[in-house]
């Protein structure tokens, strides 16, 4: 069977089970689009390529599968770079297809030519420039395999136009054969047995879970471990949802804006079971003073995560789900009764810490941003998929919405990329058409990709955007207040668009609340609409996120208010 490169691409996408592509056409992908139009694959036409990559990211997270994004060469490709970097930092499986100028023009500074493989080398798990149509099928198969296996991540395929057009006899690559890539899924049992002995000795253990638990679907195993041995659990921002946020053993998030009890517990613990985390600086604070008395067991599929920031005692390289499953089996074979009886003091101590700074606020006559999220949590009964922008909105969302399930909280954790939330919500809504998807945004970050409201409206995606409008770039303002003598250099944004009218102009529903008593009704009406909705809440302008660990301080040195 003779097929063109573009047809081969479609064939391979179908084989990989791709049903949706987020993209934006252009001169160097016309051939691909021409074939795409003949398939059943749904194409979501975004308004900016950054929207496409974030949407593919949100789709991957909410749907737990590989997200796909298709853009043209040059500016189309460079517009995806921020989103690729974000997906890379958060280990999200996405495949990015970029058009490229024909092979004979590569290197000639041709119109809309850019060396996207060179540009994205350091922010993709791997990338390819396909120079022969004969290689295309194999490359696509490898790319999907790489994106989803091991530590997942974005993989980019750059396809020159002549490669798309050339017709060859199509040969289906049966399987992926890469001698240089063999992720370790099954852990070393000697290390795991050491961990069991350490768990037996521990009086003040704690589980610290991260995004890796979510990526490997290991929530069940993690929850079982915590319940069997009565071990309290904290998570990184990326780990929220990996352990039920309503469980009595849940401590809340760890780190810079973590709960008082989580930070104190980690500091005082004598054993940390760290699963699928990378000990990011936002979590550890001052490294030298992080968990001074703890033995650390670190489970992660990526060997480079281990010993990178923190020296650990028991490194375990393996898939979180498989490793925790084996750990649970080992624990079942041992007698842990005395250990569990010993746990009482530790849990009581944590209960005492719980009473310090439990995210309180005083809701008077100006709307508190935290109140909006608390109300949102109440009205959605904790069941919504929440995406966020980046900054205060993100931290309040993490603190005040309680996530019981993996994939329920979608945020740009590592890169901290403003403009992420709305397109990610669109992707999540496409992946989960029956779920309620809410983007919690600030007035600053929503404007970074606001154009995607048009996408949501065009494709009847009823995403809900909650804007906490404080007329500041709030997180930077907060730093300026605390550490830069209240000099609010360039963080005032006292002109924001009329979001209600803007929503209407896009064909969405726009609503606004200025008084605390409006918050409930606006949310109720907005959430129950079957349209795309923007709800704007005029909130306390100089409200700050607490607790806060100043940069470079130990995580016990929290500012509480």
């Amino acid at each position: 069977m003779k097929l063109t490169g573009a047809q081969i691409l479609m064939e391979m996408l179908k084989q990989e089970g791709v049903d949706t592509i987020f993209g934006f056409p252009g001169g160097k992908v016309i051939d691909i689009y021409h074939e795409l139009a003949k398939t059943d694959i749904k194409h979501i036409l975004v308004r900016h390529e950054q929207g496409a990559i974030h949407a593919a990211d949100g789709y991957a997270r909410a749907g737990n599968r590989v997200g796909v994004c298709l853009v043209t060469s040059g500016p189309g490709a460079t517009n995806t770079v921020t989103g690729i970097a974000s997906a890379y930092m958060d280990s999200i499986p996405v495949v990015i297809l970029t058009g490229q100028v024909p092979c004979h023009l590569i290197g000639n500074d041709a119109f809309q030519e850019v060396d996207i493989v060179g540009i994205t080398r350091s922010c993709t798990k791997h990338n390819y420039l396909v120079k022969q149509t004969e290689d295309l099928a194999r490359v696509v198969k490898e790319a999907f395999y790489l994106a989803r296996s091991g530590r997942p991540g974005p993989v980019l395929i750059d396809i020159p136009q002549d490669v798309q057009q050339k017709e060859i006899v199509f040969k289906n690559p049966d399987n992926v054969n890469m001698r240089s890539y063999n992720p370790t899924y099954t852990p070393n049992m000697i290390q795991l047995k050491r961990a069991v002995q350490q768990l037996k000795k521990a009086k003040k253990p704690i589980i610290f879970s991260g995004g890796g638990v979510i990526r490997s679907n290991a929530s069940e195993e993690l929850t079982a471990l915590a319940h069997t041995l009565h071990i309290p659990v904290t998570s990184s921002l990326m780990g929220l949802g990996s352990f039920p946020g309503t469980d009595p053993l849940w401590l809340g998030m760890l780190g810079m804006h973590g709960t008082y009890r989580a930070n104190m517990s980690i500091h005082e613990s004598d054993l940390i079971i760290a699963v699928g985390v990378r000990f990011d600086d936002r979590v550890t604070g001052k490294i030298d003073e992080f968990a001074p008395n703890a033995v650390i067991v670190h489970i992660d599929i990526d060997p480079t995560s281990i010993h990178k920031n923190i020296a650990v005692h028991t490194p375990v390289v393996g898939d979180c789900k498989i490793t925790l499953g084996l750990l649970n089996t080992l624990i079942d074979q041992e007698d842990f009764t005395p250990v569990k009886e010993n746990r009482k003091n530790w849990l009581e101590q944590i209960e005492l810490w719980k009473q310090t700074s439990p995210f309180t606020y005083d809701q008077k006559n100006i709307i508190k941003p935290q109140y909006v999220i608390d109300k949102l949590y109440e009205l959605t009964k904790g069941s919504a998929i929440i995406t966020t922008e980046v900054g205060q909105n993100q931290m309040w969302a993490a603190q005040h919405y309680h996530f019981d399930h993996s994939g329920q909280f979608i945020t740009s954790g590592g890169l901290g990329c403003m403009g992420f939330g709305l397109p990610a919500a669109i992707g999540a809504q496409v992946a989960c058409p029956d779920r309620l998807v809410v983007d919690i945004a600030g007035d600053g970050s929503i404007q970074m990709n606001i154009q995607e409201i048009a996408t949501a409206v065009q494709f009847n995606l009823p995403v809900k955007v909650v804007i906490l409008n404080n007329q500041y770039l709030g997180m930077v303002r907060q730093w300026q207040e605390l550490f830069y003598d209240k000099c609010y250099a360039c963080t005032r944004m006292d002109h924001t668009p009329d979001f209600v009218k803007l929503a209407e102009a896009f064909g969405a529903l726009g609503m606004k609340a200025t008084q605390p008593e409006d918050v409930g009704p606006v949310l109720k009406e907005g959430l129950s609409s079957d349209k795309t909705v923007i709800m704007e809440f005029m909130v306390e302008q100089e409200e700050s996120v607490y607790p806060m660990v100043p940069a470079g301080k130990a995580i016990t040195e929290m500012l509480l208010a």
Binding site: R121, H126, T304, H307
Partner: protein
């Protein structure tokens, strides 16, 4: 602070365009040092060997090795440091050769078992291979005579077979 040492790594990679850029980019992007670097195809045309000398403390070099291995095109990373291995470097030295010095230069070249590969009325170009110490010694001897320019390869190395 732990002391920084030199490490010699022998890295087998896919012989494909862009692989060297991935390796070099990893070092620049993460702030690691490359002291020298040598790349060439192995007997298997699909595989190249990169021999690299890097500097760092134990933790950094452990991280470098892991990060290298994480690159999809890296097949194997051998750390030769502290093991039995043979290493060589090659230098081409263009040295001033006025009549007064010609005999002495040739004598030095002979002692170091090097070869004169280009001769002119005012210069010799000498090819010399060996360990870092040997090459340093030869350069020291030639320096007073007047070295015009040198070109040197990075180190290449192979592990010794167990006897």
């Amino acid at each position: 602070m732990e002391e920084k040492n030199k490490y010699i790594l022998s890295i087998l990679v896919d012989n494909e365009p862009g692989v060297l850029a991935r390796v070099a980019g990893l070092f620049s992007g993460r702030g690691y040092n490359i002291e020298s670097l040598c790349v060439a195809e192995t007997t298997d045309p699909l595989v190249s060997r990169i021999t690299m000398v890097t500097i760092g403390d134990t933790a950094i070099v452990e991280q470098i090795k892991k990060q290298l291995f994480k690159l999809i095109n890296v097949i194997k990373v051998y750390d030769l440091t502290g093991t039995e291995y043979v290493q060589r470097e090659l230098i081409l030295i263009k040295v001033n050769a006025k009549p007064d010095h010609r005999a002495e230069i040739l004598r030095i070249a002979d002692i170091f078992r090097s070869k004169v590969v280009d001769v002119g009325p005012e210069h010799f170009t000498i090819e010399v291979t060996g360990s870092e110490e040997k090459l340093a010694a030869m350069l020291n001897l030639l320096k007073p005579i007047g070295i015009k320019e040198i070109a040197r390869t990075g180190k290449i190395a192979l592990a010794r077979e167990t006897k």
